[in-house]
């Protein structure tokens, strides 16, 4: 099973929830940090990295001597990464999404594959939990190409070892967030009971609903704000899987890089219960009354 921990608003507690779930997960697990623009799960899990290396994307290199300026590549590329100006072919590597279309369509075979570095992929272990992380190169504008490579590594690990996966997704509702949740079996949205939290939570729920995947909510910092998030969930039938209280101890633990589930039996029990409810949600056996406890 692949569980994506996502949110609309940033800073609601995705990493807090993801890290704590690794502590209570019963089956073998791989924890995947897909927030490649700002990965931070490793700060809490402190994995021992076994291998780490650069990830690349293929970008076009044009042999001008073979080019007949037929415009086939330029017409195909939606991103203007390869453009023909008069008798000059311009390839803008940093704008290329790496689809390979220009290389395939060129009738003169004038385009070959060069490469651009996307960032780095690291793999290791935090105790028995396997750990995988993508880290985008500074200056790189696109995160989905790197995320796809991290997900491909994740699938290899799942196939080889039968592990479950917990994905720490990037915030927001644009391409990176959608990329992080689209291959999951269950989506857990983390929000906080504030007007900002509700606003972005609604956006995330609307963005991810078309996938038709089981979706539930963790309300972090419960006790602040108002009851609007709860009303929205009740109205839309979105199960509230867990509530983590707004407590100084949690903030202090987080600031020291500690996993919240390790702080006290009370905190741990929140995530033990969440773990069971995620499985019930995936199996379709979650009772609504129980979910709104």
């Amino acid at each position: 099973m692949i569980v994506a921990i996502a949110s609309g608003k940033g800073g609601t507690g995705k990493t807090t929830v993801a890290a704590s779930l690794t502590r209570v997960w019963e089956r073998p697990l791989v924890a995947v940090d897909l927030d490649v623009e700002a990965p931070n799960l490793h700060l809490f899990l402190r994995p021992e990295i076994e291998e780490s290396g650069p990830a690349w994307i293929e970008t076009p290199v044009v042999d001008e001597s073979k080019c007949t300026h037929c415009l086939a590549c330029s017409a195909l590329c939606q991103f203007k990464a390869i453009s023909v100006m008069g008798s000059v072919v311009l390839a803008f590597s940093e704008m290329c999404h790496g689809c390979g279309g220009c290389i395939a369509i060129c009738p003169e075979k004038a385009i070959s594959a060069g490469k651009r570095e996307l960032g780095e992929i690291s793999r290791g272990y935090a105790g028995n939990t396997e750990f995988l992380m993508g880290c985008l190169r500074i200056g790189e504008a696109m995160s989905p190409p790197l995320m796809r490579q991290v997900k491909s590594r994740m699938k290899n690990i799942i196939e080889a070892s039968g592990r479950d996966a917990i994905i720490d997704a990037p915030p927001g509702v644009s391409c990176p967030a959608v990329n992080a949740v689209m291959d999951s079996d269950v989506i857990v949205l983390v929000t906080e009971p504030t007007p900002f939290g509700l606003h972005d939570f609604k956006l995330a729920w609307e963005a991810f609903s078309p996938f038709g995947k089981p979706m539930g909510v963790v309300i972090n910092r419960a006790g602040v704000g108002d009851r609007e998030v709860y009303s929205f969930c009740a109205e839309k039938g979105i199960p509230v899987l867990a509530e983590a209280p707004y407590e100084r101890a949690a903030a202090e633990g987080y600031a020291r890089g500690r996993v919240i589930a390790d702080l006290s039996p009370e905190f741990r029990n929140i995530f033990v219960s969440l773990h069971s409810k995620i499985f019930e949600l995936a199996a379709g056996t979650l009772h609504k009354e129980a979910a709104h406890a």
Binding site: F79, S83, M85, G86, L90, M95
Partner: protein
């Protein structure tokens, strides 16, 4: 030099210069011989997520102009225009009409740019 393109907020010589190149509303093409003008709408380019400067450069190159007058030209647009030897005049004053820009150009008081004056994507 016979034809120039001016980034414009509208199709007429008395419309205001649009300071942006790639995401300009359009381009007024002026034939300096007889001051006749035509208009290229750039609306299709404005909606591109990326590569607006390059597409705009392709549009004005298609109009066979020798020079572009604008406010800000980004690095990729500049490179694309340079590839077909279209000269660039940038930093046009705000609030200027297309006609005023053309008059200044004809009077020889505008200088050709040697490089882009904007970062990409702005």
């Amino acid at each position: 030099m016979s034809k120039i393109a001016i980034t414009s907020e509208g199709p007429e010589l008395d419309d205001l210069v649009d300071p942006r190149f790639g995401r300009a509303a359009g381009f007024v093409i002026v034939d300096l011989e007889d001051m006749s003008s035509s208009y290229i709408d750039n609306g299709q380019t404005q909606v591109l997520a990326q590569g607006a400067g390059i597409q705009a450069a392709q549009l004005v190159a298609g109009a066979k102009v020798d020079c572009v007058l604008s406010g800000f030209v980004g690095p990729k647009a500049f490179q694309a225009l340079s590839a077909v030897k279209i000269k660039v005049v940038q930093n046009l004053d705000e609030g200027m009409t297309v006609r005023q820009a053309v008059d200044k150009f004809k009077a020889g008081v505008l200088q050709y740019a040697e490089g882009p004056n904007r970062g990409a994507g702005r």
